[in-house]
């Protein structure tokens, strides 16, 4: 621009031109602040840190740039009213580069990045977005992915560039799209969208299978109600429902109207870049868009994307020939269709059609032609950017500084890297009642790597719900309690992993005066125990830490049917009304019966203390028997039953007390854990696991020491002899000879000594054996079997030892001269003595 203006200044000195000049200058001033922030960022850079490919273009790149220029000219010529294409922006060193070469397909070694969801989320989290300045113009430059990843800052083109590289690396058929989108998309403004974590999951509602009408199903009893009245009733109900529905719909519409974004002055002009993933590869059923700022996927029919100028990936570049008047809804993404998409490199089209090898051979002639064709076409030069690499640490930190906050409609989502926060928090979702995010409704927190196995905590309506994974002591699975009263004897619900518990407890619900426990799969068929507590009596006792336990008023226990017992003996429900000294038993119903036998006991007060010596009287029981003709139970049996029930009552009271204790213990544990909030570190995590680190360091240190020790071990064989002559600095010739002689003599002596020693041992063994043999021959007859066996054992062992000694001696004899020669050789080459030999 500057150049043109300057030219104008020189060539036309007229008054008109002067005017023009003035006008143009006025424009220049307004334009400056737009361009300036870009140029300084480039010029400020120190290019030395970039490799050659960043600072210069290869011949092939130059060729392709020329090609690109040609393409651009044709395009401009043909479509004068269309906006320029994003083809060859400057890179960080101010060099023009073709956009396709800025892509570098990469597959990183993280499991999550093998799927598009993981890639999109990573890119969205890892980089901080920067909007285009101005929003309706293409950026001047496009940096390499490695630079962007280092800076963790980029615009939509940078985002799309990296995401597309990752997707191509993972095998997706992905393209960068340059086009237009709504303001919300361009600014990554999700505050009008529902948070993806809050979106109601689609539940597959299974329709209850209607039982097939059987041949002999009994007819239902005749309905004697008036059909007309029922019909009228139904009609009225339906009308009311419709009214309700209508009203609701109207309300919804009103709200939607209110929440609509304000009209955007630049609607349809805002430039944006995103990623297109085409169906066909990696089991992707159909085309979709990925918005790189948020990592969300959109169908091509989405109203947020308003138009497409061009698409490209590392193979080719296509300009869109279709009308975008109605957004991308009806657009075809069949890039082979030259009517709709104008490609840049003709040759690379072939890469899209995969021709099987066999066919190629069959049509050899054709093939040759094709090859000739190929040669004529220019193919894409190799990428100029450095490989994309993300270290494990970077990957785990995710967002810049490990933190990221996203605002959604009536919700705020905060993300933290693992191990960043001391309490292991990784995600926090706050849901608000209003759009201004002031009226907090619900807070949901996710944790990772907690030592206490806490995974989520939800704070809603004054209730706190904590979820745990398996592996806690006492097998707690979920804990719901009031935020205002977290102490014992308050309202709470605890759910347990019942399979891990000995008593099969799966749920315990509490209120200040009640406690209900649910059990699963118990041997005694108990499935429910309900306790009613009374108020504590105020005592003037010395104030202890806890006070007396709450008095138990009533315990109700329910049992499943035990098929081993007859129903009339199998207790379904037993109620201990403790403050009335009453026990109520209800038995199970016998199969066809509709009534159940019951029995009430009125026990004398303090019966449990007297034990077995309870006095019996007939008015202690009251019974109802289903079968009036059955013989009534014997008093003896009833009496024994009562004694047993008194014991059961005590056991139940015990169980209740221990449950109370357990609750207290769990609460105490939780409190301690919350205070400590320790994080568990995997044994495989070499970075964070201090113990493992220490261990490794220790091992390294040991290895080092061992090495040093070995070095020392290689001792100087001349040292003792040198010491004899007083470690002189210089050795004379005679001394050298003498040293050599001494050293060799010493070795010789030692070798002989060793041989002698072996021989000595050999002789000793042989003589011992001989002696034993003689002994054996003398006493052979009188010997017991065991002695004999012992003797044979000894013989075989002795023979073995003798044989070994013999072998050793032979070997020693063989090796000794070698050793001698070796030493002599060494001495000859010894730097101290070599002067004289």
């Amino acid at each position: 621009m500057d150049i043109i203006i300057e030219d104008g200044q020189e060539e036309s000195p007229d008054a008109d031109v002067e005017d023009l000049k003035e006008e143009l200058e006025a424009i220049q001033i307004t334009a400056e602040p737009i361009i300036e922030p870009i140029i300084p960022t480039i010029t400020k850079e120190d290019f030395s840190e970039y490799p050659e490919s960043y600072k210069d273009n290869t011949n092939k790149e130059k060729l392709i740039l020329a090609y690109v220029e040609n393409y651009r000219r044709q395009y401009v010529h043909l479509f004068r009213d269309r906006k320029p294409l994003f083809l060859n922006p400057l890179n960080e060193c101010g060099i023009e580069k073709f956009v396709c070469t800025t892509l570098r397909p990469t597959l990183l070694s993280y499991k999550a990045l093998y799927h598009w969801q993981g890639c999109a989320e990573f890119v969205a989290d890892y980089l901080t977005m920067k909007q285009l300045e101005p929003p309706q113009e293409l950026p001047m430059c496009l940096f390499s992915p490695s630079t962007i990843l280092k800076r963790q800052l980029g615009n939509c083109f940078d985002f799309s560039n990296i995401l597309c590289s990752l997707l191509l690396g993972a095998g997706y058929d992905a393209y960068v799209v340059s086009g237009y989108a709504t303001k919300e998309i361009c600014l990554a403004d999700e505050s009008r969208q529902i948070c993806p974590l809050l979106q109601p999951k689609k539940e597959v509602v299974k329709e209850a299978e209607k039982p097939e009408p059987r041949k002999y199903t009994v007819k239902p009893p005749r309905d004697l109600r008036s059909k007309f009245i029922i019909k009228m009733e139904a009609r009225r109900k339906k009308e009311a429902e419709e009214e309700e529905k209508k009203k609701q719909q109207e309300d919804e519409e009103k709200i939607a109207e209110l929440e609509k974004p304000p009209p955007d002055a630049l609607y349809g002009l805002r430039i944006h870049a995103w990623v297109l993933v085409r169906g066909g590869k990696r089991e992707v059923p159909e085309d979709f868009f990925i918005e790189p700022f948020t990592g969300q996927s959109y169908p091509p029919s989405s109203t947020s994307f308003l138009g497409i100028e061009s698409v490209w990936n590392s193979i080719n570049y296509w300009a869109n020939m279709q009308n975008c008047a109605s957004g991308c809804k009806d657009m075809s993404f069949d890039l082979m269709d030259t009517e709709k998409w104008e490609y840049m490199l003709a040759g690379s089209d072939q890469s899209q059609i995969e021709i099987p090898d066999v066919e190629e051979e069959l049509y050899d002639l054709d093939d040759d032609e094709k090859e000739n064709d190929d040669e004529k076409h220019l193919d894409m030069p190799a990428t100029w950017v450095l490989p994309i690499c993300v270290t494990k640490n970077q990957y785990e930190m995710r967002c810049p500084q490990g933190k990221k906050t996203t605002l959604y409609k009536k919700a705020k989502l905060e993300k933290y890297a693992n191990y960043l926060l001391k309490d292991g928090l990784v995600t926090r979702l706050s849901v608000y009642d209003n759009n201004e995010l002031t009226d907090l409704k619900k807070v949901q927190e996710w944790f990772e790597n907690r030592e206490d196995k806490l995974t989520t905590r939800v704070h809603q309506d004054g209730l706190i719900t904590e979820d745990f994974v398996e592996g806690r002591p006492r097998s707690l699975q979920q804990h719901v309690y009031k935020a205002s009263n977290p102490g014992p004897e308050a309202e709470r619900t605890m759910t347990f992993f019942h399979k891990a518990r000995v008593n099969g407890l799966c749920k315990r619900e509490e209120t200040p005066t009640e406690m209900t426990e649910h059990f699963v799969n118990r041997d005694d068929f108990l499935y429910l125990r309900h306790v009613l507590f009374g108020k504590r009596q105020k005592k003037v006792a010395p104030a202890t830490a806890e006070g007396p336990p709450r008095p138990i008023l009533k315990i109700t226990e329910k049992f499943h049917r035990n098929d081993a017992l007859p129903a009339s003996k199998d207790v379904e429900e037993q109620i201990f009304i403790i403050h009335e000294d009453k026990i109520q038993i209800t038995y199970h119903r016998e199969d066809p019966n509709i009534t159940a036998s019951t029995r009430d006991f009125y026990k004398p007060p303090n019966a449990e203390e007297k034990g077995g010596s309870l006095q019996w009287s007939n008015d202690m029981t009251n019974t109802f028997q289903v079968n009036p003709h059955g013989s009534p139970a014997k008093n003896l049996a009833i009496y024994e039953n009562l004694l047993q029930l008194i014991q059961t009552e005590q056991k139940s009271i015990q169980a209740v007390r221990s449950s109370e204790e357990e609750v207290k213990d769990i609460l105490m544990d939780r409190q301690k854990e919350e205070l400590a909030s320790e994080l568990a570190i995997s044994v495989y995590d070499t970075e964070r696991n201090d113990k493992a680190k220490k261990h490794r360091k220790e091992l390294e240190r040991l290895a080092m020491e061992e090495k040093l020790r070995r070095q020392e071990m290689e001792m100087d064989y001349l040292a003792p002899f040198l010491a004899q002559i007083g470690n002189p600095d210089k050795i004379s010739k005679t001394q050298a000879f003498k040293l050599k002689e001494d050293c060799l003599a010493d070795l010789k002596q030692r070798l002989i000594d060793k041989a002698n020693l072996i021989q000595l041992r050999f002789e000793k063994e042989t003589s011992e054996l001989h002696k034993r043999q003689q002994d054996y021959q003398q006493k052979q007859v009188a010997m017991t079997k065991e002695d004999e066996e012992q003797y044979f054992n000894y013989c075989s062992e002795a023979m073995f030892r003798i044989h070994i000694l013999e072998l050793r001696l032979n070997r020693h004899k063989q090796m000794a001269p070698h050793k001698y020669m070796q030493l002599e050789q060494k001495l000859r080459q010894d730097p101290r003595l070599s002067v004289y030999f």
Binding site: R214, K215, Y216, T217, V218, K219, P221, R589, P592, N593, I594, T595, G612, S613, L614, Q615, W616, F624, V626, N627, P628, K634, N635, L636, A637, Y639, E640, L643
Partner: protein, 519 residues
């Protein structure tokens, strides 16, 4: 050891002895007092000890049906008897008696622990009906046959065996023999069998044991097959077509037919007979197949009916139970309220309310029951109609097939007659080139004789076929009426029981409030 007879007077198990024993061994203290007051039924006693009483004969134990443990050691019993009623017995101790033979244990199928220590038993036998036997103690007896131990192989649960003091133990290989043949044993003669012994025993008797096991296995397989065949036959009988899938009927026709047998020897008849049999059996097969098919159909129909009835009853029961539960809830509330109020007027009103509630409940329950009765009645009628149709179809079709059988017989008879005529002619003309057996020749005396013989044979055959047909018709008819009667009777009994139950419950409800709140 056994005592001499005349040292002490032998005693008899009589009522007094039993009463005393039960009382002594029964509950103590307060419970004992109660027991004494109301008396203990023998049928409730679980364990009984009758030791050191000089009992000679076991008797009068028939009332102790629930007994699980019986001790009669140190008596002078000579014969195991009188224990057939003790079907629940698990623990029997008859050591130190004078028993000479194991017997009388057939009914004690639950027996797990049997002690016959110190008796005069010579053989292990008569214990086939004790599959649960876990512990067997027969020490200090007179068992002398090592092979007799093989008898114990039939107890898969036998873990403990005591044989010390028997002559058989003097045998050198006794221990290894026992261990080898009774591989499930854990304890032998008060000692744990160690792995070493087991190995040794196994290697010693490997061959013999293998053979034995092979035989046992074969016997087992044979029994299994027999069982299966019997089951199959039972099924065929239920379908009324037993043995029709083979030539049994055809053979039975000739079995009681001496003339036919004789005639069968006629030259050239063999082929014809063969042809006749094939056709005959083919039709029989058709009958069989149809019968089985119909049987399956019937079974399915019955299953369907039963499930539907059960469903209806369950649904009805559920409704009734909800009614009762609701009332029980109300009752509980009312009673607590009644306990609290002292106002006579309020009490009166509440009581009236309660009685009304009881009446209402009665109405509801009876209404439900009436509804169920109506529903079931209708369904049963439907079922009866369908079953009658099915049965008549079956009978008609089978009768049709049997007519075919009869036709076959008729045509065969005609052919036979024709053939005999030609033979007779030849015989008369002495042109017969083959020799006929004598008794067959006797028939070919003149035309009447041969015609009579053939007619007799034909009649026998027809009677057989008619009998079979009648059997099918009568049996199927009897089954149908019996089955339907049973269904009706069951339904009737069910209804009675339910009505009694409801009445009983309502009475109880009325009594309850009176006993609790009436002064």
């Amino acid at each position: 050891m056994s005592r001499l007879y005349d040292t002490v007077e032998p005693s008899v198990i009589d009522d007094e002895m039993l009463r005393k024993a039960v009382e002594e061994q029964g509950p103590k203290e307060e419970a004992g007092k109660i027991a004494k007051q109301e008396g203990v039924d023998y049928c409730d006693v679980l364990s009984l000890r009758l030791d050191f009483r000089n009992i000679l004969k076991v008797d009068n134990l028939w009332q102790f049906t629930k007994l699980t443990k019986l001790q009669m050691d140190n008596n002078i019993i000579e014969k195991i008897e009188g224990m057939d009623a003790l079907v629940n017995l698990r623990w029997l101790d008859m050591s130190f008696n004078n028993i000479e033979m194991i017997e009388g244990l057939d009914k004690l199928t639950k027996l797990e622990d049997l002690t016959l220590f110190n008796n005069r038993i010579t053989r292990l036998e008569n214990m086939d009906s004790l599959p649960n036997l876990h512990v067997l103690s027969v020490g200090n007896n007179k068992i002398d046959q090592l092979d007799n131990l093989i008898y114990l192989r039939r107890f898969p649960n036998l873990r403990t065996l005591n044989l010390t003091g028997n002559p058989v133990c003097d045998d050198q290989g006794y221990k290894l023999f026992a261990v080898a043949y009774l591989s499930h044993l854990v304890y032998l003669d008060f000692r744990l069998i160690d792995e070493d012994t087991r190995q040794k025993a196994h290697s010693l008797y490997e061959n013999k044991l293998g053979e034995l096991m092979h035989n046992e296995k074969q016997a087992e397989v044979a029994i299994e097959a027999e069982k299966k065949a019997a089951q199959e036959l039972l099924k065929h009988k239920d379908a009324y077509v037993e043995h029709l899938n083979s030539s049994v009927l055809f053979e039975s026709m000739y079995k009681e037919d001496p003339e036919g047998m004789k005639l069968a020897l006629l030259p050239g008849l063999q082929d014809m007979l063969k042809d006749f049999q094939d056709k005959f059996v083919e039709v029989c097969m058709k009958i069989f197949e149809f019968g089985m098919k119909e049987y399956e159909k019937r079974c399915k129909e019955m299953r369907e009916f039963n499930t539907c009835i059960q469903d209806a009853e369950a649904a009805n029961k559920k409704q009734a139970v909800t009614v009762i539960d609701a009332f029980e809830e109300y009752k509980k509330k009312l009673f607590t309220e009644l306990l609290v109020t002292s106002d006579a007027e309020v009490q009166e009103r509440k009581m009236n309310e309660y009685h009304e509630g009881v009446n209402e409940t009665w109405d509801k329950l009876m209404g439900l029951e009436m509804q169920l009765v109506d529903q079931l009645e209708e369904t049963i009628k439907d079922f009866e109609r369908n079953m009658t149709d099915l049965m008549s179809q079956l009978v008609e079709y089978i009768q049709g097939l049997i007519t075919q059988v009869r036709d076959l017989e008729n045509s065969h008879n005609e052919k036979l007659l024709e053939m005999c005529m030609t033979v007779l002619e030849k015989v008369v003309k002495n042109e017969m080139d083959e020799e006929l057996p004598d008794d067959l020749r006797m028939l070919f005396v003149d035309k009447d004789t041969i015609v009579n013989a053939i007619g007799a044979s034909h009649d026998v055959h027809l009677i057989k076929i008619d009998n079979r047909e009648d059997e099918i018709v009568t049996r199927s008819g009897a089954w149908l009426s019996g089955h339907m009667q049973k269904i009706h009777a069951d339904e009737c009994a069910r209804n009675r029981a339910r009505v009694v139950e409801i009445t009983n419950y309502i009475d109880h409800l009325r009594d309850e409030i009176d006993t609790q709140f009436m002064p």
